[in-house]
Symmetry: C3
Subunit: 159 residues, 3 copies
């Protein structure tokens, strides 16, 4: 039993992997929270995408008027999609990077900057802050992921 | 040769990881099937997004009328996007969780409930079943993923 | 220090995993490049989704006219979403497959065909090439991912 547990925790006992697991979990949870923000705007703005979601608001034509788009809902959805487009590659490339044996200090720098940039990006998108706030926070996260991809390809290159 | 194989299968010989691999492959394949469902509705409803996809249906204005949205196509696409928003975080957080050394029984419980909830969610979305079927099945999968994220952060926390 | 490094690079020293890391990094970077292509079309076509993005182009009604959809922007966005729907499952299933101990030659075949198919898919989408170019390149990548999923489930099956 103990031996099996030890084997299974082998990876997570590695400090770089522990750091990756922490920051990856944080940004994935942040991404998931976008669902709740979209749901909040759908309910408060009464703007739904599915007829069955408006059934409790009335019948027939009365319910049909809630099948509409709303600027706040669409903004939250764009923020969520942008997270998918950026946090998912961070997870994939970051995992490969964490397993490629980088220095802990260098790995922490990548993970911390990415996580900070994506939290700023969400604020910039939802408030919304004037540009280039959103553009810059997006670009920083993007550059960090590219830097890790370069490091992975340098270490693992086997075509 | 044998030694190399053994090393590479080391992770998948761990029971928790084997369970994760099984359920993760099932939900990822389920997510991929949404593409076929969308394609089925696009073809049977003749509702396409790209001009080059309608070329075989006629020329000029005759083909142009098939560049349109259709409620069934849009419903399948929303189901697919919801899978991306929920199954992808499950994969990422679930992988970290599986590597954090949980009890097999606890891990199986998480993976099984999530997989069941997401299959129900797809049925609730496509039929569609009246609410709160879709909402509840979404919420159960969401809560399971949060529970695994909490477990990962408790084990791996290294900021 | 050295021992710790060796432990952390253990996985990436495995040839199958090295091959996976290489091709996964390539397709994830390819997916990320879709953001730049969308941004390029947004700027050159002056078609934006957020009011704050048009502030530098004018004031009031003058800026509002740039809040619109454009066929080239929408095409790039559809290509990006298609990448998310296909490259993300490839990453997840491919990672499990790489850890399930396949032969290097078989793994390389899967990774190379998928990567080639997705690069062709992007060209077919953006040019656009007449169908069935895009359909076929999509189908090849899809079939490769299913083949790996079958292999994972055969090896790891633990319900």
């Amino acid at each position: 039993r103990r031996g099996e547990m030890a084997k299974s925790t082998q990876l997570i006992n590695n400090e770089v992997f522990q750091a990756f697991a922490t920051y990856a979990a944080i940004v994935l949870v942040k991404m998931m929270l976008m669902s709740l923000i979209t749901a909040y705007f759908r309910i408060t703005r009464k703007a739904f995408a599915n007829p069955e979601d408006t059934a409790s608001l009335g019948k027939g034509e009365n319910a049909k008027k809630y099948l509409r788009t709303d600027p706040d809902v669409e903004r939250a959805r764009r923020g969520h999609l942008n997270d998918l487009e950026n946090i998912v590659p961070f997870f994939g490339i970051g995992l490969l990077y964490a397993l490629s044996g980088p220095e802990l200090s260098s790995a922490l720098l990548h993970f911390r900057i990415f996580t900070g940039a994506r939290i700023l990006h969400t604020f910039a998108y939802l408030v919304p802050l004037p540009q280039p706030s959103r553009g810059l926070s997006w670009g920083v996260g993007y550059a960090v992921t590219f830097s890790m991809a370069y490091s992975v390809l340098k270490t693992a290159w086997l075509l």
